[in-house]
């Protein structure tokens, strides 16, 4: 079974270079990739994650609005009947260090800063996803 990844842009941020390059590289690496397109609300992203039954939710933000938007996505996934404890939730973009603990507390598994090689993200997903699935059940 292919690992299913939702690559999401949330909020009003239009910077999609990172999200699109990531989506392309994940697809080439054998993942099943669903890209939300731009300007999605936390509800829309959560709805897509649940409906598409994905293993990984990757959210890209360069707007500084990761708090509150990312915690909201996780909250809505739960509300819509998904289980974020069994999904791998990762965030990438311009995320100041002080916000790392807040995102982790909200349930984010991995935070990737600008410049992170995509090979590192792929490695992270392959290693952490089985652990997360086991832990969730």
């Amino acid at each position: 079974m292919k690992i299913r990844v939702l690559v999401a842009k949330v909020g009003l941020d239009g910077h999609d270079r990172g999200a699109k390059v990531l989506a392309r590289f994940l697809r080439d690496a054998g993942f099943e990739v669903i890209y939300t397109g731009l300007h999605r609300t936390p509800q829309e992203v959560a709805r897509a994650a649940v409906d598409e039954d994905v293993d990984v939710v990757g959210v890209s933000l360069l707007s500084g609005a990761h708090i509150p938007l990312v915690p909201r996505i996780i909250q809505y996934i739960r509300e819509y009947g998904g289980n974020p404890d069994e999904m791998l939730i990762v965030v990438g973009g311009t995320i100041p260090h002080d916000d790392f603990p807040k995102l982790r507390d909200a349930g984010v598994d991995g935070i990737f800063i600008p410049g992170t090689p995509i090979s590192e993200i792929i490695k992270f997903i392959k290693e952490k996803l089985p652990e997360k699935k086991k832990g969730g059940k």
Binding site: G14, G37, L38, S63, G64, A65, L69, T94, P96, P114
Partner: protein, 562 residues
């Protein structure tokens, strides 16, 4: 001449065989095929034969004269240094007004406004879609009230202001004009720039509200109104910056920007606007990326191309042939790792902008891969420009790289490659650049071209054939907790409170009439700007005016192309 050329040719053959060849086998570097950052293949060394096809007077010439390869002004920075203009804004109008005053005191010579995402998208701070984003990556502006605070103590006749904003550009121009009137500044002293370039939003930057055609209609409305009302204001900043940030090559950046510029000029002429009236109010905006000479060549080529284009369109006044441009160093080149290295990157990029003859420059701050810049970081960014201007000596001679075999060859090469793209776009529009650009937006041409280049660049980094210092080579274990700017989380609440107060206190009857006037202009295909100007003065919000546009024209969502 002929004898000399033959002598050089003979020497070259001898040098290649006897001097160069033995060394080639000893090259230690892994790189075998040298290319520019954009993938243009380059030689080991350049000589007169590489620029044999160029004619000094036709292609290079003197600064201040056609085709302006060497600069738009004959004296360039001897006459006046470029404008040091740092893109800046966060929180409320009060927060940004304080940062601006600090920058002006430190020697900044022009203002440049960063708006928050809700403002950029034409949403009010109390819109549900704005929740969590108010004041986050720029200043929140809802009504003229915010502008009054933003420009408090800043005389509009003393400083020019740039506004990076697109769908609501006309609203912001109206607000700025109203502030000028309040300060009793004569209209011909109101200077600045609105970005107002929707085409590149569709190609790359994605701040999109209305569909392409009505977006273009409003841009031409702004041209018409601006020529009459604010004759010294740049009514558009035709931008390659964002195209490059989205991953394009230097050639694509140049070609798509010029194609967009041609489309705007053609659209204005179709409306009956005199090209010589419009031209002085056009400006451009480019990126300065890492490849030093490629960037310089791009800037030089851009001026030469635009001069030819405007002459071909029938512009008579030599000033109409000028391409004036702002440069920003490449945000996408900044690394979160070893952030102080960014100061060096920015210096090299800024130097390219200056050697390329920019009119105005923004230097990025070293901490911007993490957050909006701190005061310390933005000060270093400004000092970088001041060092180049006052210490390095590079500003003392106009186009000091003119005549360099390599730079002249590369300038010509980039120009040729850019023309090929432009011809392709013109063909897509059956001879019309307006139709060609609209077609390329509709069929995803621009987006696909840029995405492919972005993927190629990333692949090179992943494979290690492109080295990014501190990222895929020379990495260290480091504590990345550098001091960063924090935006007050109370901004949203305070901004919404102010907006509600303004909405309560204004004359809502007049406001309603003004919004109706805007609607009727949209419906009857009349120029919207006189109505927008009145609406702004009656404290209509950005969201109310954009909302009226949306009701008539609908909204647009870009097709998804990965």
């Amino acid at each position: 001449m002929g004898e000399l050329t033959e002598k050089i040719r003979e020497k070259k053959r001898e040098w290649e065989k006897e001097c160069l060849e033995p060394w080639l086998s000893k090259c230690e570097r892994e790189v075998k095929n040298f290319e520019t950052l954009s993938g243009i293949e380059i030689s080991n060394v350049y000589d007169p034969f590489d620029i044999e096809h160029l004619d000094f007077l036709r292609d290079i010439g003197y600064p201040g004269e056609f085709p302006f390869t060497r600069g738009v002004y004959p004296t360039m920075y001897r006459g006046r240094l470029w404008t040091m203009r740092l893109f800046s804004g966060f929180g409320t109008a009060e927060d940004t007004n304080r940062r601006w005053k600090m920058l002006l005191e430190e020697g900044e010579t022009g203002l440049s406004t960063a708006f928050d995402f809700p403002t950029l998208m034409g949403l009010d701070s109390d819109d549900p879609l704005a929740d969590g984003e108010v004041g986050k990556c720029g200043v929140a502006i809802d009504t003229l009230k915010d502008f009054e605070i933003l420009f408090d103590g800043i005389p509009l006749n003393k400083v020019s202001t740039s506004f990076t904003i697109n769908p609501p550009a006309g609203i912001i121009l109206a607000m700025y004009t109203a502030i000028g009137d309040m300060q009793k500044v004569p209209r011909d002293k109101v200077r600045g720039t609105i970005q107002n370039d929707m085409f590149k939003e569709f190609h790359a930057q994605n701040t999109i509200v209305l569909p392409p055609e009505p977006s273009l209609k409003i841009i031409v409305d702004i041209f018409e109104w601006g020529i009459k009302n604010v004759p010294k204001f740049n009514l558009i900043s035709i931008s390659g910056y964002h195209i490059r940030e989205a991953g394009s090559t230097a050639v694509q950046e140049l070609a798509f920007t010029i194609a967009d510029g041609m489309a705007y000029v053609e659209a204005a002429m179709e409306r009956g606007i005199d090209i010589d009236k419009l031209a002085p109010q056009l400006s451009f905006f480019f990126n300065a990326h890492n490849d030093f000479f490629e960037e310089i060549a791009k800037f030089r080529a851009s001026r030469r191309m635009w001069a030819k284009i405007m002459k071909d369109y029938g512009a008579k006044d030599p000033r109409s042939w000028w391409m004036k441009f702002h440069v920003q160093t490449a945000g996408c080149s900044l690394t979160a790792q070893q952030p102080l290295n960014n100061i060096v990157r920015v210096t090299i990029q800024a130097l390219a902008a200056v050697l390329g003859g920019c009119q105005s420059l923004h230097t990025n701050s070293f901490d911007e891969a993490w957050a909006l810049p701190s005061e310390e970081a933005v000060r270093v960014a400004l000092r970088t420009q001041q060092l180049i201007a006052y210490e390095s000596g590079v500003a003392n001679v106009v186009d000091p790289l003119g005549g360099s075999y390599y730079v002249e060859w590369l300038t010509d090469k980039i120009e040729r490659l850019a023309w090929k793209y432009i011809e392709r776009i013109r063909e897509m529009g059956n001879g019309s650049m307006v139709k060609g650009v609209l077609k390329g937006i509709e069929n995803g041409f621009f987006v696909r071209e840029i995405s492919d280049s972005a993927a190629r660049y990333q692949r090179e980094i992943e494979e290690g054939s492109r080295i990014i210092v501190g990222v895929n080579k020379f990495r260290i274990e480091e504590d990345l907790k550098i001091p960063l700017l924090k935006v007050d989380p109370e901004v949203q609440r305070r901004q919404i409170e102010r907006l509600r107060r303004v909405k309560k206190e204004r004359d809502n009857k007049v406001l309603k009439e003004n919004l109706e006037w805007i609607r009727s202009c949209c419906e009857n295909n009349e120029n919207v700007m006189p109505a927008v100007f009145e609406a702004v003065k009656s404290y209509a919000s950005v969201g109310e005016i954009m909302g009226t546009f949306k009701q008539v024209y609908g909204t647009y969502r870009k097709p998804i192309i990965i």
